[in-house]
Symmetry: C2
Subunit: 219 residues, 2 copies
């Protein structure tokens, strides 16, 4: 079995560590992020896999405070609509902190570019693979940020059409994340929604099947 | 500025190294993967972020060789249909190696679970966030595999309904990836589609805007 491609034990441990210690953060300190550091994180995102090497990811850095406040208001509107849609869980949902848009050092809107229909490779039957690629890019950014000691939160509570209008985005683009990025006092020990007992981690054995759906592994 | 959350320089370097050295592999050796190693990779996937902590990811491990061959045939059918749809690029597309399903050690079908409409948190206006979560899980698996010296390829060239029928998947589930995983002789220096001149890496500066779409950063 070839072993020459394997990283050192300490490097492997660092990769697993960052995977396990990454958190969706909603509590931030206001300390700024250096431009070179932000650039490193965005370059890590840009080295994600993408279907047919289409690189559909775009990032809008929100530097204008008025825009940031407008984004926050859009999220607040959707938070209330989500609460209503959750019916009997409305009250417990409303107690959760779901974003840190006004506190974090940097807000980035991550979006799919326009004119994506030109990219057929790997997307003829699964056009949503563009979103899969962008999501891998965001995960790269998240992991790199955690290693550098920065927290990130992915906010998907907004009306995409309203964000497009606000940021003057073309009709065929699509915003999928308001990313809150910044220094934090401490990282949560567990995912916040697990800590707050909103949901529990599932048993890995229940998520793996063998050959056909719902068939547990035999070994 | 708080620095106590920052990893050591060597650990940070390991995280960036794996992000930059991960490749979408289509060439594999046949050496097997140990069960404990596969388990570590799937556990890394399971520690991805997920919208509202819904953990929508499911993995079907294909152990039956006949099933693997049927999956390969479905991909081959879609490869030919993709080639036709690419018109003037048909010939150059047909020269590319796009998958290693028959050669790799392990084939996993990654899918979204059924009954996802119950999960409203972060998905009321963006229901596709379940795919975003699964994609982050696949990226975790990919990075952990690379650190351990294993290659992975994400094949999205198949008709999802045909895969669902083949694997007896419920109508409300959705397969999004045939993952080829295994030992490799060497990792590509660059993404294969870049090496083969199918597409070029875009300039990062062209992908980052400031405040509004298509507005370049001012600093």
């Amino acid at each position: 079995m070839p072993t020459n491609n394997r990283y050192s034990d300490t490097d492997i441990a660092a990769v697993y560590r960052v995977i396990y210690e990454r958190r969706d953060m909603r509590h931030f300190l206001s300390d700024p992020i250096e431009p070179e550091q932000l650039r490193r994180l965005l370059a890590a995102a840009h080295h994600a896999p993408s279907v047919g090497f289409m690189q559909p990811w775009r990032f809008v850095r929100i530097r204008c405070q008025a825009l940031r406040k407008e984004l926050h208001q859009l999220v607040e509107q959707e938070r209330l609509l989500t609460a209503k849609a959750l019916h009997e869980r409305e009250d417990s949902f409303m107690k959760l902190k779901v974003e840190g848009i006004l506190e974090c050092a940097e807000v980035l809107v991550a979006a799919l570019c326009g004119q994506r229909e030109a990219h057929v490779f790997g997307r003829r039957t699964l056009p949503e693979m563009d979103l899969a690629s962008l999501s891998c890019a965001i995960q790269n950014l998240w992991l790199a940020a955690r290693a550098e000691g920065l927290g990130m939160g992915w906010v998907s509570m907004f009306a995409p059409e309203a964000v497009k209008t606000l940021l003057d985005m073309p009709t065929d683009s699509h915003p999928v994340a308001i990313l809150c990025l910044g220094h934090v006092a401490t990282f949560y020990d567990q995912p916040l929604l697990e800590q707050e007992a909103w949901a529990s981690r599932q048993n890995l054995d229940d998520l793996i099947f063998e050959n056909t759906w719902n068939t547990p592994p035999c070994s």
